[in-house]
Symmetry: D2
Subunit: 349 residues, 4 copies
């Protein structure tokens, strides 16, 4: 079986394994206070063109999201988020377990707009009994989104301006950031994110690392005492250097973007085949996630050889499924998938 | 100005004041362990035909909801609720502050159905990564709802059966219960609620008491150690007898239903006038809340003499507003409101 | 039976009942936004000589403590407190349920010192892995303490100075404040408290009200958005005026201090008798709580006629018990208790 | 510099690195549902002689502790623990952040006794206002303790019997379990732990893994829905197999105990030298942690070449410090440390 169901089916990029092996018996201080973490943080700050930003490393995405949100909000404050946002539906209520309501906004493509944020905040403030409702204080977006779509720089500028004007924090979840930065339609850089967001994450788990997310905090209000929060929420690795070594490797010689770009190219190849075969997409996109709408019969056949991710039923005979490529995807596997799609379709016609 | 904006603008029924005065200098044990609380609980158990039910008294509605939910759920469990449910929009995230996600279901009339619950739970269980989502474990309904509508006995039977079949708790918020039980279309009794719900509340604050909600727990699993929870969440009144005395008075000689019935009759009178005047209702109803859709100009005029509750804008020239009657509403005030409506409409035509 | 076991065995001062009756059918806005709350808050501000202080009213003591602490602290911060502090042992973990650790300091008389606070904070800051421990950010004291002792103005000045110097909040729980302010040894005024504390409470429940605590916030950082917190934690009374009316009455013509002074005089009478009889006190004191060490046999006899509060076993034959007087204590009952003590002792000798 | 300050200064045992490299490009399901996790869990169940136990893998120790406790307790319940327990002082209030009070018991050697537990629970139950205090429901012990001491089988039997008799859960934190199981004085096996505890952890982070703790739940009540809790608290690794591969390696051919035994032997060598030199220990012990009391002047000299852990000041001229050995400690480094100690002492005399 070949796995296209997600972007974390393999281990890590070989260079990371090499670095781990090379440093294995070195002795370093624990809890992220080692030279590798410092070095990786410096490289990220440089990539962000923000020498003043705080950079921290956490193990996983849910942990990152809940820790950032717990650090930022007072108890009566909540976070605005697309209804499809990862924190809303796929983290077992981690944000609520930290005490905060998620204030969902409708979205068909995984994105929310500055206008939606403005309207929600204004509605809250205009409510004569506003103290009986949760106060919106943070905006959570993911980029790429859970549907593989991307924010443009203009959209981010507008969101950022709205948040700053209204006194909200802007938090961008970059679990798949590499696959966004290297997508053909992308016009956003890490420096843009560091400038426009109060805090954002750079995902390692899905982009070549064994695990690990880097958190970049441009807003010093959020950075205060953040290490206490990491420790309290169980995100502080005793051997913190494991995160430093991984991100140092990824941030050296453009490795992070290079391997992300491979995944994007593989996805494009698949998308092209789907287009040729007249298979509709659930949502357009140009990152490493491909959402295709296929007849049940074809999906049954494909499932004998390939693992993909069930997304949703579209109608009686069709389902949307997700194919993910990753830094580790082999071109031969993509070609095999494309070939299988062609054969299935011929078979059925 | 005459207040029709809510059902808690006055103090309490005179009989309650008398009882408080009569017992004022008696010495009793604190924290709800006095004879008045025992007596009130006994009367409630009898009204519910459930000698085995646990009955507790709390000060307010938000407190009651958050304490019941905190007592019932494990950290990964959430509560299904109409999007218009009081806990979802009007309690400043009290449930989330207790760590639990509210899983909203769409609703146009304030109610949810057994089928909606079943579908939501089945969807959760069918999800291959169900452990990444909050587990539905409780259903919260209010009766009357926030829109003044009522559940029929058949609807409650269906909800109860679904919940029991699927291992969920059914919690009915009865903040305005009296106004439901005495409504013309109602076919539900307290005994029905005690039989069909795992836990429900009987609102005092809005139905003649100074403050206070009684919680009736038919399911012993929920009742275990509940007094610890009341204390921990700040709901245990030192002079607990104040709650006992109030509910004892309300539950004696049918006072609770009698005064609730008055409010319902007052609302009916207003509803009839609206109908005569051709003023549409936002939602049909027969309890103490009347949701009318009126032209802005008329509302401006009415607002010089009456206080009502802004509900929502319906279109460019019309808003829906809520008029509440209560146990304390004077017929003269209702007649004055009806008269004012008539005059306003004539004026405008 | 005569109750001396606590100071909340009766209802409220007759003037409060009168005020509640007088205003009962008035219509006012809810949730503390009525003229009575405004008026009561103004009187408290005047008594505190702090026109700028925020004043809020909550229903009970545990609720007040947990809401103030939840509003003040970030998740990694904790509250320093005497091991005997009410929040530590008698509120069912309400502070922990709000997510915060209580950092206990040893105390034999219910009080803590500025030196203890300074030492604890310095120890935290000197710890090389301080981020692995909870950060002390607030000091909680009660005055009178749970043992009926009092802080002097000098002690409070020192605590206040230490807290401000170290960036900590000082929170004084005044559940029995009236009994402190009127005690013979007291040299502290409400204005002192408003000047020295960031936040303190004025207890109504134990000093003449049916229920209710006023919270005075001199530090604007704590006051921000506090009403959201009150609502979220279930402390916002729909008929908020009940609190306003009660505190307005208590703060008029010196009623609060007058009735507290009565309780203090009653306690002094009892203390004098104990002294005459050679009965030792567990802890010296001059407020409304008297902690006496008595032989078991005498306590058994007393218990036939009087209810008192078991405090702790002192040795094989003796227990310490607490007698409380209150605003409602009748002199005849105190005389009867003194007489009974005399007879018991004669009997035994 | 040579690090003796902790047991997580290096990476992992070479066999683990090899296994990670060997499996690196395999594709497996995520979130701990891969064959390696299954295989590792099976081996642990066999080692525990409990085919029915639930076994889960988490990333770190704080995460493990907070997740187990959050899963086990209702909101009003707390955990009994030695004052020196890791959860009490070194996890930034993670347990309180999950809503639970830690009920500390005094301890000079890091251990607590069945009698202490029994006394605390009986005191709670005998308190007439027990509902105003946190209910003890779990006992947390660590083995080896934070002071390197060990529970005997008899002590664990007594604790287990007390807990079961009183309806409490027994949770053993085995962050350094290997160093306990291989200590000369130890008479406890993994099977004993699985039989006597409701839940215990097997530490990987400090015993040869890059990171990772295995949780063994013999009590099915605790195991229910535990994966939801792991996900919610941020402990579910996307590439869960990393934990499976590591524990599979450690549990194969006795590797875990073999490498732990090495650390214990290294510590014994150091302890022997200290004894020869007449240097007192703060606390006796036979695991991988050595607590020595040394003059400040000697510690200053040692600090030029060795890193150790400051523990506490003993008197004006002496401090207790901790030396840790680990699976990775080189004998040459221990010999160098012993030699340096000898020289320092000669120098000073």
């Amino acid at each position: 079986m070949v796995y296209f169901n997600n972007d974390y089916a393999e281990g890590c990029h070989p260079k990371i394994l090499e670095a781990l092996a090379r440093t294995n018996l070195e002795q370093t201080p624990g809890y992220g206070e080692d030279p590798y973490c410092r070095q990786a943080a410096d490289k990220i700050r440089r990539a962000c063109q923000r020498e003043d930003a705080a950079v921290h490393f956490l193990v996983g995405g849910t942990q990152t999201n809940l820790t950032v949100i717990a650090a930022a909000l007072r108890p009566h404050q909540g976070v605005l988020c697309a209804v499809s946002g990862h924190i809303n539906g796929h983290e077992t209520g981690a944000v609520e377990a930290a005490g905060h309501k998620i204030l969902t906004l409708p979205s068909s493509n995984g994105k929310i707009t500055a206008a939606q944020v403005e309207e929600a905040v204004n509605a809250h403030r205009a409510d004569p009994s506003f103290e009986h409702a949760v106060q919106p204080k943070m905006v959570y977006i993911s980029n790429p989104t859970e549907l593989g779509t991307l924010y443009s720089r203009d959209e981010l500028e507008a969101l950022s301006q709205t948040c700053r004007g209204m006194g909200l924090y802007l938090f961008l979840d970059g679990a798949r950031l590499g696959y966004g930065l290297t997508a053909p339609d992308n016009d956003v850089s890490m420096a843009d994110l560091a400038r426009l967001c109060d805090v954002f994450s750079i995902g390692g788990t899905k982009v070549g690392a064994l695990f690990g997310e880097a958190v970049v905090m441009g807003n010093p209000a959020l950075a205060e005492d953040f290490r206490y929060l990491i420790k309290q929420r169980g995100g502080m690795l005793a051997k913190g250097r494991l995160l430093g070594i991984q991100f140092d490797t990824l941030m050296t010689d453009g490795l992070y973007l290079a391997i992300a770009g491979h995944a994007v190219a593989m996805a494009r190849q698949l998308r092209q085949t789907l287009m040729e075969l007249g298979i509709p997409l659930l949502v357009p996109g140009c990152t490493n996630q491909v959402f295709a709408i296929l007849p049940d019969r074809i999906l049954e056949r494909l499932a004998r050889q390939f693992v993909f991710c069930e997304w949703k039923r579209v109608d009686d005979g069709h389902r949307a499924v997700r194919f993910c490529t990753s830094w580790a995807t082999r071109e031969a596997d993509v070609l095999a998938l494309c070939q299988a799609l062609r054969e299935c379709l011929q078979c059925v016609h």
